[in-house]
Homo-oligomer: 276 residues x 2
């Protein structure tokens, strides 16, 4: 028995975990600080790695990494890993119970709801780090950077995404055209094979967007896509496609992963163009 200086209560969600990580950063001994630092920047690895993996990557011994988990407030690595795995496994009986605690759902308190969306945002950003799609980010960026004019297409929920891109690209002097009104797009001279089209659509997919993109592709315009599902029809004709997954709260999704990905993409396009 002794003074457990550590906090007794384990974090119950990702948000709390990150907070505690940041907050303890300063008061930890050297090796544990290494763990905190690495983990903070590679949260998405926890769900799919073993202690020795994380320890090695942090540059410490496995036992040290476990001590780190305990310093954070968990009973050990397994408990911490469990927290990060829940987001992938919400349907399983064992996990459903935990999930129920984390998510006393629906729009009651406002702070409550905001917290839920923030948590969902964290998760979305985590799976963004995990996504296979990211590997293609560079090649999509160079594809878009070569375009004479970059056409942006997206409706409903996706419209915010492309309008944000439009703003960023404009700020970096990349010639980009945001197609706000479907219909005036298909005037033939507007898009040429020298251009590129970046189309965004989430399930259930917008017929208009698909249609416009398909016609562009048939006309020889390189089409790149962003979606939240592999079943997206854009896949049929797009050069490359990025995929993001947004977690939802009470049936609503924010745009954290999408906006973050496309912001990074826009900056990449901007910097690649500047180099040439």
């Amino acid at each position: 028995m002794s003074e457990n200086e550590g906090i007794a209560t384990p974090p119950t969600n990702i948000t709390q975990t990150i907070e505690r990580l940041d907050q303890m950063q300063d008061e930890l001994p050297k090796r544990l600080k290494q763990c905190a630092s690495f983990t903070r920047r590679h949260l998405h690895l926890v769900a799919v790695s073993t202690v020795s993996d994380m320890a090695k990557a942090s540059g410490v011994a496995p036992s040290v990494y476990i001590r780190f988990c305990q310093a954070i407030g968990f009973s050990g690595y397994s408990e911490m890993q469990g927290l990060f795995r829940v987001q992938y496994t919400s349907f399983r009986p064992d996990y459903e119970q935990r999930l129920a605690q984390v998510r006393p759902d629906v729009a009651q308190g406002s702070g409550q709801l905001l917290g839920e969306f923030a948590e969902a945002g964290h998760k979305s950003l985590l799976s963004l780090g995990n996504s296979v799609a990211n590997e293609g980010l560079n090649s999509v960026a160079s594809g878009l950077a070569q375009a004479r004019i970059l056409h942006l297409l997206g409706m409903r929920r996706a419209f915010a995404v492309v309008s944000n891109m439009s703003y960023l690209l404009g700020k970096m002097d990349v010639p980009a055209l945001l197609h706000t009104d479907v219909g005036h797009l298909d005037s033939p001279p507007l898009m040429t094979p020298d251009d590129a089209l970046f189309a965004v659509t989430f399930a259930p997919f917008s017929e208009d967007v698909i249609q416009q993109a398909r016609e562009a592709a048939e006309r020889g315009v390189p089409v790149y896509g962003l979606s939240d599902s592999e079943k997206c029809p854009l896949f049929e004709f797009a050069r490359e496609e990025l995929i993001v997954h947004e977690h939802e709260v009470a049936g609503f999704r924010a745009l954290n992963a999408s906006i973050t990905l496309t912001t990074a993409l826009s900056v990449l396009v901007g910097s690649q163009r500047r180099e040439s």
Copy 2:
């Protein structure tokens, strides 16, 4: 040479795995087909689940699930899981070395840049939870919910924010009007004191937005604001104002906190209106 009914070579990537799954679907015995069917629909679970998890979820015994993995061509579950984990990690032993270098510099590698934005996103969401402004979220929501028509105003970086709100509110049958073109706004009959204006502007503040909002306020229209600074001129005449802080990467800001806050706000407005 010999007659192993199973295919000798294991799939080397996810695509191959899926193909083989689909292709074998018909020629498998009942229980194994169950495994194939469930796994096909929940591929993402493999990386973070144990055999017994997958077996239970598929409705079979663990040993059966392993036999299923072998039928696909893997040596066992571990090998199959390894394939799925690699997709998530891109995990290299020499990680911590790179890490030290990468941290300070900016827009070089693409995955790195995305990681930086994800990191900034986490921070933004954290400060969102901490911010004082959020306490006012409920009262802003009820203010907006009482409006006959909810006018949305935002330009540049803020435009994506209000257009997202416009979509969400529309989806919930809240009468909202997105002002895309400044200038046609100030036709007097368009906004009345029965309405409300939600204006978004980030530093450096858009003159147009401030001006429009001020005129609306002088005409008796309740104005609510969202900004990233307390120095925002909207403060001078807005009923209430929300504040978010977005972390930046290489001079660029994503919209994680803003989008998350306004998404929550929109849902609140929608649910409050439904109650009356």
